[in-house]
């Protein structure tokens, strides 16, 4: 099963935190939601399996920006194709999240989400265009919308916004 194989490969990125990763399925607190209302502890980096029938994907790996290229290399070696890259502005936590979606062409269904968080004041992540040429536009678009800089990107100029755009409309503090 590709889900298991990919999960094990991604877990190798977190060697010292084996017990944490093993306990990772615990944050799946769909039912116990009432008990933990507002004050959820921030999610630790690690790999989780998600309920596909609820969330629509199987694996969810949160990595540090430094681990990103290693994580994507694992996905690339396993033959996944790139679906999309996007961002989320977690303004209350003063962080920006970059989300990478991958899926497969074969019938061994496995959707993988790689996510990484960077501080809003210094939103820099490495580019993955070296591995996935198709990341080029996705990263430019994410730069348009969130101002996230993809270090090493060959051509990080506006894609969908006007060429002189100096605003990032999907930031939560954006005012038109």
């Amino acid at each position: 099963m590709i889900v298991e194989k990919t999960k094990l490969a991604l877990l190798n990125l977190f060697p010292q935190s084996e017990p944490v990763a093993a306990a990772a399925p615990a944050p799946l607190q769909e039912e116990g939601e009432k008990k933990a209302p507002k004050k959820e502890p921030p999610r630790m980096n690690g790999v989780m399996e998600r309920d596909y029938n609820v969330h629509g994907y199987h694996l969810d790996a949160q990595v540090s920006p430094a681990q990103l290229l290693d994580a994507v290399a694992i996905i690339d070696d396993a033959g996944f194709f790139i679906e999309s890259i996007t961002g989320v502005d977690w303004i209350k936590e003063d962080q920006l999240e970059v989300i990478y979606d991958f899926s497969r062409y074969d019938f061994d269904l496995c959707r993988v989400v790689i996510r990484t968080r960077v501080p809003r004041s210094k939103p820099v992540v490495p580019t993955i265009t070296g591995m996935y040429a198709g990341a080029n536009w996705h990263e430019r678009e994410t730069h348009d919308f969130f101002g996230i800089k993809f270090e090493g990107h060959p051509n990080l100029i506006p894609l969908l916004l006007p060429e002189d755009a100096d605003f990032h409309p999907l930031l939560k503090d954006f005012k038109a």
């Binding site: 769909e30 939601e33 029938n53 609820v54 969330h55 629509g56 994907y57 033959g79 996944f80 194709f81 790139i82 679906e83 999309s84 996007t86 989320v88 502005d89 989300i99 979606d101 899926s103 497969r104 062409y105 074969d106 019938f107 269904l109 959707r111 989400v113 996935y132 040429a133 198709g134 080029n136 536009w137 919308f145 506006p158 894609l159 969908l160 916004l161 006007p162 409309p169 999907l170």
Partner: protein, 371 residues
């Protein structure tokens, strides 16, 4: 003044294809660096009709956003609406009556044929054959009339609702759909006699613009672009949703990787859609088209993903919810965006005429790229 003009072999010039050019079928611009008629380099410039649907997704409540999805792809709008309602239904735990899901599948497939018909006509027109477009539009007109009667619009349908449909189908629709199937089958034969095999047509497509499976994967291309390169990938089969597992249909795959293979895939897909419609009409159950009790939409914090196979490929929609009335983030992954992206790399060294035929084989809808 009489000295002969010397052309340096390394001399190139820049050619702007678009943003207003008939071959791009929309507001798309490709900046080409040309050496004579050969493309040295190409840079696709998009964003001319960017409308920021994703921001609207954050500002509008869930039901208010329904209509936006039909304004991304004006040729095959229902597929996008389908992905949206499936996502919200999954995230909010809304049950859909079986009849509604069958009607969704039937209408999505009708819309897929309408979209492929328009592509077929426009594609052949790009290659210099004008009359097939007229035949294709006539067949498409039957579908648009049918869909107009039940949805109220001809292109920008907002037909689906969370939990079901806005309007039930009547006997007129079912009769019209039944009559349409044999007529469309006859038309498909006609199209093949009219176009496929034509020597000029074949020379423009055969062996042109080969896309390796590796380049498909690196760009995440889907639809006939992937299936023309031997990749057996169709979300309806690989990641079954709705009532598609109930239908017996095939996924046409061609291994030649060229523009002709992409053409053949789409032509064969129309027949498969007809099979789905036929079975859908036979199996169409009775009953309600909306849930008995309407519940307010409440989505637990978290993120949710849904992919569907639209006429243009795998459309993905990601919802990040914070439990509020509007999405915290709504991402639309449009298939043509990825399909078009590989154009720049693949058209290098190609004759410009071949590149335009190649572009036609990608089946572009620009508002769907720009969102």
């Amino acid at each position: 003044m009489s000295a002969p003009i010397t052309i340096r072999p390394d001399e190139t010039f820049t050619l702007n294809v678009g943003p207003q050019h008939p071959a791009t079928h929309g507001v798309l611009r490709v900046k080409m660096e040309m050496d004579g008629e050969y493309i040295v380099n190409a840079e696709t410039v998009i964003g001319y009709i960017h409308r920021m649907h994703e921001k609207m997704g954050e500002l509008k409540t869930y039901p208010q956003f329904l209509m936006n999805l039909s304004r991304m792809d004006y040729l095959g709008a229902l597929g996008y609406s389908h992905g949206h309602v499936l996502l919200i239904e999954k995230a909010a735990g809304i049950e859909v009556p079986e009849r509604a899901e069958y009607i969704r599948a039937i209408t999505v497939e009708l819309n897929r044929i309408a979209s492929h018909l328009f592509w077929f006509g426009a594609f052949v027109m790009d290659l210099g054959g004008f009359s097939p477009l007229m035949y294709a539009l006539q067949d498409r007109e039957y579908i648009l009339d049918m869909l107009e009667a039940i949805t109220g619009s001809r292109l920008t349908y907002s037909y689906y609702r969370f939990g079901g449909l806005y309007n039930d189908v009547d006997d007129d629709f079912i009769d019209a759909a039944r009559r349409f199937i044999p007529r469309m089958r006859a038309s498909l034969k006609k199209y093949h006699r009219l176009v496929t095999g034509n020597i000029i047509f074949m020379k423009r497509l055969e062996g042109i613009a080969p896309l390796t499976p590796e380049i498909i994967r690196k760009y995440g291309a889907t639809s006939a672009v992937a299936r023309g390169s031997g990749i057996n990938f169709d979300v309806r089969k690989n990641e079954p949703y709705s009532v598609y597992p109930e239908f017996d249909f095939d996924v046409p795959v061609y291994h030649e990787c060229d523009s002709l293979a992409r053409y053949m895939v789409r032509m064969a897909e129309m027949e498969q859609s007809l099979r789905i419609i036929e079975q859908g009409l036979d199996k169409l159950p009775g009953g309600p088209i909306m849930p008995e009790k309407k519940k307010p939409i409440k989505i637990a914090p978290g993120d949710y993903y849904q992919a569907v196979e639209t006429a243009r490929g795998s459309f993905g929609i990601r919802l990040v919810s914070d439990g509020g009335k509007t999405p915290y983030r709504l991402k639309l992954r449009s298939p043509t965006y990825s399909n078009m992206h590989l154009f720049d790399e693949s058209c290098r060294g190609m004759l410009i005429m071949d590149a335009l035929a190649f572009m036609g084989s990608l089946d572009l809808v620009i508002p769907e790229i720009d969102r």
